[in-house]
Every structure is written in structure tokens, then in C-alpha cells.
Subunit: 140 residues, 4 copies
């Protein structure tokens, strides 16, 4: 069972919510990506450096989310991340959006593939990245 | 097999793409929702009216996307929508993002549930909405 | 007096409005930029090509907006653009957001400077761009 | 001279930057608004409560920004806010975006008016809000 290895916190902003007063669904993915960026920086693989240095290409190939309880303006949310799967050329991250009472309001999942420089084919994950992800996957 | 019943077109804007030069994944869901709003208006159930009149609550309970080919700044994209499933209290919409050569660059899916006014339980879809969705589902 | 030389149309989407039910102010700038992109494509200077070809750098150095009447979900809006000023190394664009009754609901202005390849100093606008802007400025 | 009374910090995210690798100008306003929400919560006037309780209407009537130095992906930025002006029925906030070396990369300003419940006319600021703003304006 993957364990929660990273916590990212945010407060639901006015621009996050729509006319219904609850978070617009697509913004959940923006917050998941912010958590992902925090996670990558924390494991020593900050995205800005990866993009700047190239040609490591880690496109998202799949994303999904389940919405249980609406997230409301002003609410404090913590995102608990885990490495759900780690393959030769891809990895899967899970995100749990938890409110102040510890309830899971939403879940998300993203799948990231590693491509070679031509974007033509998948390529093995760089060794340092694979090791960092593996380390997080098994952390108690 | 559900048929494409609605086409929504857009051009990939500068604010859609990130430092990698391709569309940021979460923005695909924003465009899917624009297609959904066009679709709802087209079947006589515009979201702004539903929200204003209340208490019809149609929250998204699930969303997912698969990304095949990066969408690039300035590219013309058409979104072809279909009603993938229609239940008593929910419906599922599929979206295909097609480039100028007819290639499917991405797919998305959203699941919408109908809640009663208290958001406490699912409720049968309003009859007019169910009929409009059914009409689109079977259109050749 | 600068004349309206470009019209860009959009419908206020659910993700444009906030919990107050009116367009979140920052999104007005996103729509202004969409109008700007349409304008640049129309005068033969599409932004995606300029960015791809480099090193033409046209950063926004100033932006402002005045909000008169709230823009609401589902409302059809047309953006009427004009070239307000054209200098040696910069230009200013004005945007008027007009509702279905012809009322101006908001105004925006953006100032764009041309930098040399090092981003270190302003540089004369490329001749083709200056000519295209001049042409639009004087169009009756 | 208005003094900096509030500091809001953020890291430039991948979704903040465009194909040019620098922050898309409209997103600066989103971050300014996040700083504004922090500020309002800090002075005991959280926006979510104001909106929920109604009918206090504080629409933005003007926004502007000057961009000096591009903000780049991964950069840590602090927003220093101050109350620039306080009138009977409106107030003006200034924002300075400062990088890790203490340089001001951008400035923004927002003007907020207080409307009566019909949005028909300006109305005096609620006493508690006016006092809280005044307190911040004069703080050394």
C-alpha cells in the first residue's frame, strides 16, 4: 500500500470557486500539479531545472479525479501525495485532498511518462529520478 | 456506440501552454467544460440558467483525460462530444480533441450526478434534461 | 482618435465567474490577451510564430483595466480593440468589452515593448510589425 | 508614504508561465488577489465570510500592473502589500512583487469600491472594515 509521502497545503481562493460557490473541477488538477512540483523539488528533481536543462521530457499521459465533497471558498485543504506505481519508463502519483476534519474531499491521480528527446518513444526514467521515486514509494 | 453530437472549436492560446510549449494538462479540462457549456446551451439546458434558477445541482463527480499528442500554441482544435452513458441520476460525456489533420490528440470524460437541493443524495435527472440527453445519445 | 479595428467575441464561462457570480477581474485580462492574439494573427504577425522564430521579444510592460458593469455567466461579450499609441519601440492597445446592448462594461489597456535578444534594452519594432500596426491605427 | 503591511509568498508554478518561460501577465493579478485575500483574513475581514454573509459588495473597479523583470518558473516571490488610499466608499491597495535578492520585479494596484445591496450606488465602507484598513494604513 503506497504511503503518504508529501503534504502540500493551500486555501481555496476566490478564483478557485465558480458561481456555484464550490471549486471548479479543473482547478483541482492545478492544485494537484502544485503538490507535484513541491514533491519533485523535495526529492531533488525540481521541474523548473528539468525543463531548463532538457531534454528530460515527462509529459502527463493520464489524469483523473473523483470529487466527493465540494471544496468551498476559504477552506484549508491539505494534499497528501504518494507514489502509486513506478515502472521502467513511467510513474503514477496519487493525491488525496483532505479538509480540516481529516475527511477526504477529492482524489486525483496523474501518470507521467518519460520520453526520449524526440518525443517519439518512451525511454527509461533517468536513474536519479527512479531512485528518488523508489525511495519515496517505500518510505514508512 | 455513442456518436459525436457536438463540436466546439478553439485555438490554443498563449496562456494555455506552459514553459514546455505545450498545453498545460489541466487546461484541457477547462476546454472540455467550455464544450460542455456549448452542448448544454444547444440542447436547451444552459448552465447559467440552471445555476440561476436552482436548485438543480449537477456536480461533476469524476473527470479523466488521456493525452496522446501535445497541443501546441496557435493550433486549431475541435472538440467532438458525445453522451457516453445516461443513467437515472447521472450522465457521462466523452470529449475527443481533434487537430487539423483529424488526429485525436487527447480524450476526456466527465461524469455528472444530479443531487437534491441538500446535496445529500442523488436524485433523478429532471425530465427535460434526461429527454434532451437521450435525444443526443441516439442521434445518428 | 483610435478606431476599433478588431472584434473578438466570447461567452462568459462558468470558470470565468467567482462565488459572487460575476467575472473574476483577472480573467478580463485573459480575454483581452485572446483578443490580442486574434489581432496579431489578423495583421499577419501571429504570436506563436513570433515566439517560435525568436528572438522577437514583446513583453507586456503595463496592463490596466476599469470595471463598470459586472460581466455575468452566459453573457455574450465582444471585445473591440484599437491601436492607441505606436512608438519606436513600443505600442499600446485598447480594449472595450461591450455587451449585447452595446454598453461598455469594461475597458482594458496593454503596453507592449520590444526588447533586443538579451532582454537588456528596448529595440525598434521590427519594420513589418510597425507597418502592420500603423495600418490598423489609421484605418477608417 | 504607505508602508508594507502584509507579506504573501509564493513560488512561480509551471502553470504560471507561458511558452516564453516567464509568468503570463494576467496571473500576476491572480497572485495579487491571493495576497489581498490573505490581507483581508489577517485584518479580520475574510472575503469568504463577507461574500457568504452579504450584502457587502466590494467589487474591483480598477486594476493595473507594471512589469519590470520577468518572473520565472521556480522563482520564490514575496508580495508586499500596503493600503495606498482609503476613502469614504473605496480603498486602494498596492502590491510589490519582490524576488529573492530584494528587487522589485513588478508592481500592481487594485481599487475596491463599496456598493449598496443593489449595486446601484457607492456606499460608505462598513465601519469595521474602514477601521481595520485605517489601522493598517498608519502602522509603522
Amino acid at each position: 500500500m503506497p504511503l503518504s509521502t508529501q503534504v502540500h497545503e493551500f486555501r481555496v481562493a476566490l478564483h478557485d470557486v465558480d458561481a456555484g460557490g464550490v471549486m471548479f473541477f479543473a482547478h483541482l488538477f492545478r492544485h494537484a500539479h502544485d503538490a507535484y512540483e513541491s514533491f519533485m523539488a523535495d526529492i531533488g528533481q525540481p521541474l523548473d531545472r528539468l525543463i531548463r536543462e532538457g531534454p528530460t521530457l515527462l509529459p502527463l499521459v493520464h489524469a483523473e479525479a473523483d470529487y466527493r465533497t465540494p471544496l468551498r471558498h476559504g477552506q484549508d485543504v491539505s494534499v497528501r501525495m504518494s507514489v502509486a506505481a513506478l515502472g521502467n519508463s513511467s510513474f503514477t502519483l496519487d493525491y488525496r485532498f483532505v479538509d480540516g476534519e481529516g475527511r477526504t474531499c477529492a482524489r486525483a491521480r496523474t501518470v507521467h511518462a518519460h520520453l526520449d528527446g524526440d518525443r517519439a518513444a518512451s525511454a527509461p526514467l533517468p536513474a536519479a529520478l527512479a531512485a528518488a521515486l523508489e525511495d519515496r514509494r517505500s518510505r514508512p
